[in-house]
Symmetry: C2
Subunit: 80 residues, 2 copies
């Protein structure tokens, strides 16, 4: 059993209002040291697979099929 | 400059419809090997701080003040 995190972010050039608003709110609270905020979505899944390679391939396929929209999203697969 | 990820998840017992629906959709597509899906929100921020400890303290404070709701959220701070 593997625990995998799929991190879905936005491609460069795609606007990220949630990140921008978080940055603005932090600035208003005086956290000037924060220079940028990007929001990402993570799906943490437990997956049964004979090997890490196979798990990775399957998760990559899931990303293509339903977890991400390739027009606007980037994704990253991380094993915990 | 540090790059920090704040991972905001839901506490045990708090329902996670997004995770549950993602799991259901994956099952419908035949991905029976996926045993659970949890959804998390990540804020990836760049922060200027004299040390990792100070950055960590400030981010912890931001979590308490605006990034999370302690009634339903857990959070984790990860330096990249």
């Amino acid at each position: 059993m593997f625990t995998v995190e799929v991190k879905v972010g936005l491609k460069k050039g795609v606007s990220d209002p949630e990140g921008a608003n978080t940055l603005k709110s932090l600035e208003l609270l005086g956290y000037d040291e924060v220079k940028s905020v990007k929001s990402l979505k993570v799906y943490r899944m437990e997956i049964d697979a004979p090997s890490r390679e196979e798990a990775s391939e399957r998760v990559e396929e899931m990303c293509r099929r339903i977890l991400t929209n390739p027009v606007i999203h980037t994704h990253e697969i991380v094993f915990l």
